[in-house]
Amino acid sequence: MIYSEDDRVLLGHGSGGILTSDLISQLFLHYFKNDILEELSDSAFLQMKSKKISFTTDSFVVDPLFFPGGDIGKLAVCGTINDLAVSGAKPMFLSCGFIIEEGFSLSQLEKIVRSMAEEAEKAQVKIVTGDTKVVAKGQCDKLFINTSGIGKLPAKYIGLSKAEYICKGDKIIINGSLGDHSISVLSARNSLKIQANLVSDCAILNELIYQVLDNSRGVKFMRDATRGGLATVLYELAENKKYGIAIDENSIPVKDTVRGVCELLGFDPLYLANEGKVVMIVAEESANEILKIMKRHPLGKESCIIGEVSETNPGLVWLNTQIGGKRMVDKLSGEQLPRIC
């Protein structure tokens, strides 16, 4: 560790002066080191052969910064990489912006930066540019991070995010249980006094996604089920379209711990945020093969089919309930849980 418990972020760390360059060289360059970043020019120079690129950005304000299974740094890298991967792109470069509250612990910042570097390395992505701002005490809550990412997009996957080819009979697959991230973060908040034996599912999904894309045909759409959860992904897909979507409560994986907290606090797992879950819509005839491929990957072991596209009820998503009833799955209104990512 570079910093000790007592070291704090000072306003001067964001001034652009000596303290800023110290922070860059001691902390960021040390952990993120790569040829592009080391140039330390105002902008990073990137070379890409691909004609098509995907570009995305996301900001992270999770509270608390550290939670079972991850921290804000891991989340910021995974979130942006996953956004690229679900569009079919191969993530290449990331930028990161830090907004830090004066007095924040430098050793905690170091832990966060280190986990960002670890995740980026796992995904073979370079963090090539960044920015640090420090605001006076009370003007932001500890630390916010923004990451943007660029990935190269093979021509054959361009249609993936447009969801154009979805039709009746297509199957809906998810790679595991819902709500682990939300409930882990919630349980890490002291105010709620919930003890849940659970870790966040926060993980980079690019490898799993590429294994499916490279070894099968029939994936028609993918989305990571983050804020708003599974329900929101499906609702946005069905909205204004010619088809409806049916999901089966009995086949949707939800851990007992998550269900328990949901029963207690009135949350619906369908709307809880996940940070390592991808929803795929795949052609009926490819579904079993894709499932097999997914199950071979550590992040896809619990993959399952949870529903299908239907020609009835166009524009709607509905749930076949555990007891054999039916109910609509509507768009989330209001905020179920603020500052979850």
């Binding site: 007992d256 709607l316 509905w318 109910r327 609509m328």
Partner: protein, 361 residues
């Protein structure tokens, strides 16, 4: 999951459904009094599973929905006082008052905090001795004992900056009003949680004087279907009795200790219910003994004149006279993101449940 899945078994659900179908011959109106029941009925898709001759009406048992607009306006006035923290259960924050809401006041700088229990509110008061901490006490016999205990504790521990603003209500007078009212109710699906405190005796007048069958019901799908079956059996035999389906939680005499605490802290007064107007002896006021904790006696605030709802038919819905889709505002002008009335704000409100789950599929 243990203690949950047992009450959601599809086989038993089917079994109860066929018993209901075999037994039920009459066209009947059953009212689920409690908002928790309304929500469960919609969430599990029970409405469409029942035979068409059984009509379910939603009653007045959603605490947020029956809380009068004047109360919200007064909460808003409290939130504008200097050095004040408002603590409340979540739903109330978004209920529209006459010209604002607690949510809007929060955005303008008022300190509004959502809590999950009265204990949390008390903790906030202890942690902020220089501020006035007001807890907004709403709800029926279910939540009122929590408020009562909290008041006793604040009193005993001499926590001088904690206050409670009571809109607590009791259920029997509203049920009696409905039973005497214009709509025919054949059976009450009686509120399970209220009854854990009050016991099932409070429904006896309804059965005896108004000839309405009553079954105290739990909140899981099998509880609800079994209660409906029990009601159907009574109605088919022209019986009007009070039965308890929710035996794992409810006793005929209720929770005597909680009742005593309730009576120690509160006295009954006439109270406003949204959509009903004043119902005699239906509200709970903090007794003089604890008056230094009563926000109403402690703070004199200017409350803006309450503007009556235009177009919102919450009142008629709460009385079972109309259904949410009969409201002209439903959907476009009133929805959960932009609620015009209280029934759309609360998760347990009929309009909310109807909006969320109600489209025909």
């Amino acid at each position: 999951m243990k203690y949950i899945d047992e009450y959601r078994s599809p086989e038993l659900v089917n079994c109860l459904l066929s018993l209901i179908k075999q037994t039920s011959t009459k066209e009947i109106n059953l009212m689920e009094v409690c908002g928790g029941h309304t929500m469960a009925i919609h969430k599990f898709g029970i409405v469409d599973m029942l035979p068409k001759n059984i009509h379910l009406l939603s009653g007045p048992g959603c605490p947020v929905c029956v809380t009068d607009k004047k109360y919200i306006d007064q909460c808003i006035a409290y939130s504008r006082m200097q050095n004040t923290i408002i603590t409340t259960y979540g739903d109330l924050i978004r209920v529209p008052g006459s010209s604002s809401s607690l949510e809007k006041e929060g955005a303008k700088g008022a300190d509004i905090r959502m809590v999950y229990s009265t204990t949390d509110a008390l903790e906030i008061a202890k942690a902020n001795p220089q501020k006035k901490v007001i807890f907004l006490g709403i709800g029926f016999e279910t939540t009122a004992p929590g408020s009562a205990v909290c008041i006793q504790q604040a009193f005993q521990e001499n926590i001088s900056n904690f206050y409670l603003f009571s809109a607590h209500k009791i259920m029997p007078p509203a049920l009696k009003l409905l039973a005497d009212g214009e709509i025919r109710i054949d059976g009450f699906i009686c509120p399970g949680h209220v009854s854990t405190i009050t016991g099932s005796k409070i429904y006896e007048t309804l059965a005896d004087e108004n000839s309405i069958s009553c079954v105290v019901c739990g909140f899981e799908p099998l509880d609800i279907l079994q209660s409906i079956y029990m009601l159907v059996k009574q109605i088919e035999k022209n019986e009007t009795r009070v039965e308890i389906q929710y035996t794992r939680a409810v006793q005929p005499e209720g929770n005597i200790l909680a009742q005593k605490i309730l009576m120690d802290v509160f006295e009954v007064r006439d109270d406003w219910w949204r959509g009903f107007g004043i119902i005699p002896s239906s509200g709970l006021k903090i007794r003089d003994k604890y008056k230094q904790i009563d926000a109403e006696t402690e703070f004199d605030v200017d409350v803006e004149e309450t503007i009556l709802d235009i177009g919102c038919i919450c009142g008629e819905i709460l009385k079972g006279l109309k259904s949410p889709n009969e409201c002209l505002l439903f959907g476009e002008a009133c929805n959960p993101s932009n609620p015009a009335g209280a029934c759309m704000v609360s998760n347990e409100g009929s309009c909310h449940a109807f909006y969320k789950y109600g489209k025909n599929i």
